[in-house]
């Protein structure tokens, strides 16, 4: 991506920018999520990523929908757009199309991405724009107090399905991997900060849409959801590959490791479908897929040029 393609005055690399950014440069006001909420650890990982990548705060935009996790941008000192339920993707698409020089992160909950905004999810995957999409999936509607979400486990009792959620949960990995032009799909977990950080970093460095599903617990309503996996690392399988996520620090704890080549889409789909264990890592990655924001790069046109062009158009309609 070339920053000089942007049409806006003053945007682009600042040559004499010798600023070095530290954690404090990205920290917003104290987050108001419940104690123990997975969102806290995602926020920490993202702040660590911002520092390690030295992303300029003024060039970074977090776009979110509605829900607990969508408060995310408020707790960062970057630009943020806290929109409406399910519609983070369209807003982010507009930001990135018009301002390819900006670094864009999309923050969504499971209701946002997989339910009310599902249409946008499919199409954002197909657009494959240079952004990171984070699905903060705690398998429940938390902010509205415990309703069944598309990813709620079958049988879990909620306030809208008090005798147990009726249907098997939607699999966000399979859905994303089944979408035309998908280019990056990964899964990580909020209770493994090192893996979370490494996965977000891989998504950020990917050319195209980096889609990351983050397994989370809601301490109020799904607090025990991953209890067994948290206590017993053998229930987790790490997908490892040089083109995926490698976190050597975890080798001693997570001994189940599967060498999975992320270029193998069929294998990725099989692994995503197979629910015998929790798989974390990069399922699929392909940087050779078309990226809509790079295809749609009009030339920079000055006002005078525009007027000349418009006069030529008017000539065609002249009496």
């Amino acid at each position: 991506m070339s920053e000089s393609m942007c049409n806006i005055v003053g945007c682009g690399p600042i040559d004499d920018d010798e600023r070095a950014f530290e954690l404090g440069d990205y920290e917003g006001p104290t987050a108001r999520w419940c104690p123990g909420c997975g969102d806290h650890s995602v926020l920490s990982a993202v702040q660590r990523l911002l520092v390690s990548e030295q992303l300029k705060p003024e060039q970074t935009v977090f776009v979110s929908g509605i829900g607990c996790s969508s408060r995310f941008p408020h707790y960062l000192k970057t630009y943020g757009f806290h929109g409406i339920h399910g519609r983070a993707f369209p807003v982010a698409t507009g930001v990135k199309l018009h301002r390819p020089d900006l670094t864009v992160f999309v923050v969504m909950g499971d209701g946002d991405c997989c339910s009310i905004g599902a249409a946008h999810w499919i199409h954002a995957v197909r657009y494959n724009m240079n952004m990171v999409a984070m699905l903060l999936d705690n398998s429940i509607y938390g902010l509205t107090k415990k309703q069944t979400s598309p990813t709620t486990p079958q049988g879990l009792k909620t306030n809208t399905q008090p005798f147990g959620s009726f249907l098997p949960p939607l699999n966000p990995l399979s859905t994303t991997l089944g979408t035309t032009n998908v280019s990056f799909v990964a899964q990580t977990a909020e209770w493994i900060p090192a893996h979370l950080y490494a996965t977000l970093r891989a998504a950020h460095q990917h050319k195209g849409l980096g889609f990351v599903r983050i397994l989370q617990r809601c301490p109020m309503y799904t607090g025990s959801l991953y209890d067994r996996a948290v206590k017993d690392p053998s229930l987790v399988e790490l997908l490892v590959h040089d083109d995926g996520v490698v976190v050597p620090d975890l080798d001693m704890i997570y001994r189940n490791r599967l060498a999975h080549d992320p270029s193998d889409l069929d294998a990725a789909r099989r692994l995503a479908e197979n629910g015998d264990r929790i798989r974390l890592g990069v399922f699929f990655r392909d940087e050779n897929r078309p990226r809509y924001d790079e295809i749609r790069r009009p030339p920079k046109v000055s006002t005078n040029e525009r007027l000349a062009l418009l006069n030529a158009e008017l000539d065609k309609y002249a009496v």
Binding site: N7, I8, P73, Y79, P90, G94, L97, P298
Partner: protein
């Protein structure tokens, strides 16, 4: 084979003496089955007439389907062109000359009351002697139905003639018909060929040449077989003119406004705006994004606007309904946004290709919570162009949503107007990413004006998160009663400030009198023509036409009180006062009337219709007469 048709229809005579009828204006329609190209013929005839110096207004006759069954009244597709020696502002009352490709589409226009009693009809004669007995019978039946109307029906061997140079006459009849019109109205063949080139040359030189040959064939046939000409004098314009339809004008206005991103989803009758942009926008530095749905289109435009230049979305009623939550977000976050809404008949899918003015209240209020926005309505093709330029400037200056309410009549209507003298001030300036001064707040409202300066990503020091939640000046989520009261006042105050910058509306006719007609949008031409006709009969009537619907133009109450009676004329539904069960208390009134009654406390009456076609000036004259007659008005029953 010989049917009664020969008695009723007059075969074209062999070598006529052509009498030329000189008229100040004339209205012609050309109708065919969908897909036979009558619209293209009409468009070219309209454009050439305008270029030769006639006033022109065209209206498309569009079926709801792409290829409805052939030879059915429902499938009639075509164009009405009203030409005049002076400016023409509306489609008029009735058709004086009709070119029909079959008797069924002719019947359709007859049954809809489109034809003047003495209309001349040129109809394809193929069907009278068709090998299919059902078709011959249908032809005979149709002519019997038409006989009492007293039209002059002339059979024209269109297909027979076209076959002499093209084996597929369905592809060429429209050009043959164009040649007929060129001869009848004395059109300049060179200009017609230029227009044919504009329409077809990009397909191939061959297609162009064939179409020219077919046109000339029709011309020659008319020259040697028809006994009349119609002469509507042309006059050279003193200023340069352009001629285009309303959707083209909206798209050109968008280009002139400097906006660089349009996000849309296909919807009739708005889509052709995006067709135009798809061809040229990129070379203007713009992106036309076809989104996955109407909601996303609004979101993409808002995201782009938030990050830079004001962006826009183009839609029609059902799409506007889907976008409403996003419009509320734009208003709440004070993200400028231009929404072009080309109205069609509603509710629901309604009348997708037909004109209606029934989105006014939706444009103003379709929103949970208080969400003040700007709404303007162009009333001519020229205003379509300028309304987008204005909407962009206002959206940006007032950090809010500006909705442009066009409609299906303007969308496809073609009219010449003074060529815009483009200026750089119309064009959005490049946002400047200067650092934000320390302590600046994203909603630093001037508490008198409600205005604040927009901060754009990329500006160092301005890293705020905007939100659709209730928020304070710092964009902090705040539920305190005082905060929401204050921020609501700031978003509302902006409209009051804008209202004070507007001029009172112009009055067409005397400044006071017995009756004032109030209109908005595409009905201006029909209303003003009706007022002129009624005034020439000595009736005390004036009209005014509103461009700003939110905020309303100033001085309305004072103006209304200078008239004995005030009545809106609109293309939307209202109960007739004389309908069963209707009282002044439960009567549902036209949308502008509803608005004006609330805003002015004047007892504003209304006359509205939803015929799926533009209003006819003659019908409005009837309404004026009835309204001013001493007898209790019967509220003009016939919508035509």
């Amino acid at each position: 084979m010989a049917s009664s048709t020969n008695v009723l229809a007059e075969p074209a005579s062999a070598a006529p003496l052509r009498s030329s009828i000189r008229l100040p204006e004339h209205t012609v329609e050309i109708v065919s089955d969908s897909g036979e190209g009558a619209q293209k013929c009409g468009q070219i005839f309209g454009a050439v007439s305008a270029k030769m110096g006639n006033g022109v207004w065209t209206v498309e006759i569009i079926p709801a389907e792409i290829q409805p069954p052939p030879r059915t009244p429902e499938g009639a597709s075509g164009n009405r062109i009203r030409v005049g020696s002076g400016p023409v502002t509306n489609w008029g009352d009735a058709v004086q000359l009709l070119v029909a490709f079959n008797e069924q589409v002719l019947l359709s226009r007859h049954r809809l009351g489109a034809l003047a009693p003495n209309a001349i009809i040129l109809v394809e004669n193929l069907w009278a002697t068709h090998s299919n007995a059902d078709i011959r019978a249908a032809w005979g039946k149709a002519l019997e139905e038409l006989a009492p109307a007293g039209y002059r029906i002339i059979e024209v061997p269109m297909e027979e003639q076209c076959l002499t140079i093209d084996e597929n006459p369905r592809k060429g009849k429209n050009m043959f018909a164009l040649g007929l019109l060129a001869s009848i109205y004395g059109r300049d063949l060179g200009r017609i060929e230029d227009q044919i080139a504009y329409a077809f040359r990009k397909k191939s030189e061959d297609v162009y040449q064939r179409n020219v040959a077919l046109m000339r064939l029709g011309y020659d046939w008319a020259e040697s077989n028809l006994d009349f000409r119609i002469d509507v004098p042309t006059s050279e314009s003193t200023q340069p003119l352009v001629v285009m339809n309303g959707n083209e004008a909206l798209a050109m206005g968008a280009l002139a406004s400097g906006m660089e991103l349009c996000a849309m989803y296909p919807i009739t009758p708005a889509t052709s705006v995006s067709h135009f942009l798809a061809e040229v926008f990129e070379k203007f530095g713009g992106i036309l994004h076809q989104a996955e749905d109407e909601i996303a289109a609004a979101g993409v435009a808002i995201g782009a606007s938030y990050a830079g230049k004001v962006a826009f979305t183009v839609t029609s009623g059902p799409g506007l309904a889907l976008k409403t939550e996003f419009l509320g977000l734009a208003i709440m976050t004070e993200t400028p946004l231009v929404v072009i809404n080309v109205q069609r008949g509603g509710p629901s899918t309604g009348l997708p290709t037909k004109v209606e003015q029934s989105d006014l209240l939706a444009a103003l209020f379709a929103q949970p919570g208080d969400a003040p926005r700007i709404v303007i309505a162009p009333s001519t093709i020229e205003e379509c162009f300028h309304s987008v330029v204005t909407a962009r400037r206002l959206a940006e200056a007032f950090r809010t949503v500006a909705i442009v309410l066009s409609d299906a009549n303007l969308a496809t209507g073609v009219q010449p107007f003074p060529r815009p003298e483009l200026c750089a001030e119309w064009s959005a300036a490049e946002p400047d990413l200067v650092p934000v001064a320390e302590g600046t707040r994203p909603y630093e409202w001037d508490t008198r004006l409600g205005l604040s300066t927009r901060i754009i990503p990329g500006q160092p020091g301005g890293m705020f998160t905007v939100t659709g939640l209730a928020h304070d000046e710092r964009s902090k989520v705040a539920y305190g009663s005082g905060v929401h009261q204050h921020s609501s006042a700031m978003r509302s105050r902006k409209l009051a400030v804008l209202q004070q910058m507007l001029m009172p509306p112009r009055i067409h006719g005397d400044e006071s009198g017995e009756l004032l007609i109030v209109g908005w949008g595409s009905t201006r031409g029909a209303i003003e023509e009706a007022v002129d006709r009624a005034r020439s009969e000595g009736l005390s009537v004036s009209s005014t036409h509103l461009t700003f619907l939110s905020p309303l133009e100033p001085g309305l109450g004072e103006i209304f009180r200078r008239f004995g009676k005030v009545m809106t004329v609109e293309i939307n539904y209202s109960d007739d006062a004389s309908d069963p069960f209707i009282t002044s208390e439960n009567r549902r009134r036209g949308q502008l009337a509803w608005l004006l009654r609330g805003e002015t406390l004047v007892d504003v009456d209304c006359w509205t219709r939803v015929p799926g076609e533009p209003l006819r000036p003659g019908a409005i004259v009837d309404v004026i007469r009835a309204s001013l007659s001493p007898k209790p008005a019967t509220s003009s029953g016939d919508l035509r």
